[in-house]
């Protein structure tokens, strides 16, 4: 009679299972040496890139001191489809062979960048170079390396640094991040449609703007503007609108909240009446891409945006691309202002390749590398200093790009009239000013909406 000789006992099974699991664990731990290459967040679709206007410049020279270094760079997914593959190509054909470094270039949707950086900083490991927007250098200030040395070189190379960029990246005379460039925003508009309602040139002040919009909306071609919780378009509209009427967030001392003023209320009142008559009212729920889609779908006549709408229309050979032109922000009682998207690159303190990261930034922003990349975008991004304003590209390219040439000069930083601060960054991240306007256009009394914003801002600036 057989007992245990033929059947597997529980003991046998456990021994096999545990040994097997132990072997697998050892194999997994031992095998995980090289960090896995970070995949790009979305597959880059092959798009026909328009030929760069300038002939290929001689490749930028970077010192061959980085052999064996693995650099991890995190950037946003550009709205210009060809920009990311072009840059990746530059990295692999120029930077990598010249220096011997291996670069992992990761592009992420810009609304997802901050969670990524938060995780990296908290865990102490992640990208060596991080692309920063707006006032993010202040949010991560304690975790960023001082890059004043690299910035000094950049300033020299580009003839200075635009004021908005300086304010967004420096604190106490030290640079938290290297200013990279500005994505300027202007109003993309349909020239023929505006001519039909009597506007040969783009409206110069808010009264004309509202009037043109009203006539256009009557023809089902409203102005489109996002007032939702997205870090681009909504912010680029509401802050300059407020400034142009004379409104501001804080006094010069950087502590006294000054948003509840007659001027701010006037700006809110203007938008409330214009919204109903001239704007696409669904804009309250839009993100940064909704207006692009709507404009390219010929549902909007005017929309504030970077040059990506025009770039996409021309690149995709939309039948109306030549009808698109750009206008700058209308004038208000207190002047004309823009708030651009300011880009910079920071190096986190946890990075073990800080010198290599600095070299990468130096190379990226040197004219031989930066110039073709900027030209590819035809004005969507401009360098951090005014030297590029004289570039022949502006006069030889499509006339629609011309307003972007010196648009950076209108740029003003958040937290006006105080200095740049974490409080201003928090106010923007909580969309308080954006929501102030959004609440009013949805029916709240302008005075109440402004008072709400003041109540929300006071505790933020109090703990600053």
């Amino acid at each position: 009679m057989s007992t245990t000789s033929d059947s597997l006992t529980r003991r046998d099974f456990l021994k096999v299972a545990v040994s097997g699991a132990g072997v697998m664990l050892l194999a997994a731990c031992g095998g995980a040496t090289a960090p896995a290459p970070a995949p790009t967040a979305a597959p880059a679709k092959p798009a026909e890139a328009p030929k760069p206007a300038a002939p290929a410049a001689p490749a930028a020279k970077a010192p061959v001191t980085l052999k064996g270094t693995a650099l991890h760079v995190a950037q946003w997914q550009s709205f210009i489809k060809a920009a990311d593959p072009f840059f990746a190509d530059q990295v692999s054909k120029e930077f990598e062979p010249q220096t011997g470094a291996k670069v992992t270039l990761e592009t992420v949707d810009f609304n997802q960048l901050q969670p990524k950086y938060a995780a990296a900083i908290q865990s102490g490991s992640g990208p060596d170079v991080i692309q920063l927007f707006h006032f993010w250098p202040f949010i991560y200030a304690d975790s960023l390396v001082d890059v004043s040395d690299v910035t000094a070189e950049v300033e020299k190379a580009w003839g200075g640094i635009y004021e908005q960029l300086k304010t967004s990246t420096s604190r106490g005379g030290k640079y938290l991040a290297v200013p990279f460039g500005i994505v300027g925003n202007a109003f993309a508009y349909r020239e023929s449609w505006l001519k039909e309602v009597g506007y040969e040139k783009f409206p110069d002040d808010w009264t004309e703007f509202a009037d043109a919009g009203k006539k256009l909306k009557a023809k089902s071609r409203p102005i489109g503007q996002s007032l939702g919780h997205s870090i681009g378009d909504p912010v680029t509209f509401v802050y300059p609108l407020m400034w142009s009427f004379g409104g501001k967030e804080v006094e010069k001392d950087g502590k006294t909240v000054a948003i509840n003023s007659k001027e701010t209320v006037e700006s809110v009142k203007w938008l409330v009446s214009a919204w109903r008559d001239a704007f696409d009212e669904g804009g309250v729920g839009w993100d940064d891409s909704a207006n692009n889609r709507a404009f390219l779908g010929q549902q909007l006549s005017i929309s504030l945006n970077g040059a990506s709408i025009f770039w996409a229309a021309r690149n995709d050979k939309a039948p109306f691309w030549e009808d698109i032109n750009h206008g700058i922000m209308p004038k208000g009682p207190a002047g004309r202002f823009h708030w651009h998207v300011a880009f910079s690159h920071g190096i986190p303190k946890y990075s073990k390749n800080q010198e290599a990261a600095k070299e990468f930034i130096r190379w990226m922003m040197s004219e031989p590398a930066f110039d073709p990349w900027i030209k590819l975008q035809e004005g969507y991004t401009v360098p951090p200093g005014p030297k590029f304003e004289d570039n022949p590209m502006w006069t030889t390219g499509p006339k629609a790009y011309l307003p972007y040439k010196d648009i950076a000069k209108y740029g003003r930083a958040l937290g006006y009239e105080g200095p740049a601060s974490l409080a201003a960054a928090e106010v923007q991240a909580k969309y308080i000013v954006v929501d102030m306007y959004a609440r009013a256009v949805q029916g709240e009394a302008p005075e109440a909406a402004v008072r709400w914003a003041e109540d929300e801002m006071k505790p933020i600036y109090a703990k600053a």
Binding site: I121, I139, D280, V284, W286
Partner: protein, 328 residues
Amino acid sequence: MSTRTDTVATALVLPASRRRPWNDLLEREGTLGYLLMAPALLVLIIFLAYPFVLGIWFSLSSAKIGVPGVFIGLTHFVEQLQTSIFQQVIRNTLVYTAAATVFKLTLGMALALLMNQVFPFKNLVRAGLLLPWIIPTALSTLAWLWMLDNSFSIVNWFLRETGLAAALAQSDFGRALKINIRGIPWLGDSMWAMMAVIWVNIWRGTPFYAIALLAGLQTISQELYEAAAIDGANSWHRFRHITLPLIMPVLTVVVLFSVIWTFADFQLVHVLTRGGPTNSTHLFATYAYQVGMTVGDLGAGAAISLFMFPFLLVMVVGLLVWMRRETE
């Protein structure tokens, strides 16, 4: 002594004469039980207990991203309660959970009763019913995002093509509801956005109720219904006095889980509206994410997250007490 030599197990089986003490240890159910539980316990400790305790620490400290912070007690909790955005978040979450749960329960119950009947392709229909629940939330919500998109919404297209949009836009009723010639501002108006997220939650969650309640219904003996019918009970009486009491245990569990999940919902709102417009659809989870991740204030974010705890505790206890009373 074993004579097998052709299996791996053979190689590992020790002859009886060389049995070690740990063999005896493993033979004991108690020790073995704990050992087998250890991996699961480890996972729970690492991925649940540790983050939970860390979250409590963050909420009581001034921690920011990259800044460890110091102990500040209940400051975050007090500060948040004083801001109108957070007060709105509390209202939003309660409305969202209550409305979605009531509808999911009603619809789920109705569907379960229907599915309990016999009809052609019954099994196919039951399987199809589960689809909204099975499809990953982020994906199905993306599909809804396009269906409710301001410019390209299929619903609004239908309203426009049939002339309903134009007709409603001109009527007082339509104007009061903010309907314009483009259609309904699904995600572009506070009221409609809240209705949209509640609707998508109902669409996603009803199958869970339906399938679970269906399982409960199947355990009820048909004889009870027959006996009641003979005694003159109509379908409502049969439902109220037979079905409901007998299904109460299942119902309790289903509603409990659903309330907890709905209260702590994140994906759906984050994909559809990100808490907008004007914070009208922000829930605890989405607001905690915004404050913790984009503002960088980990302490405040953790405090907002932890606010869910007392609310959920009250709701769960209340639910259990009420359900117990119903069963008795």
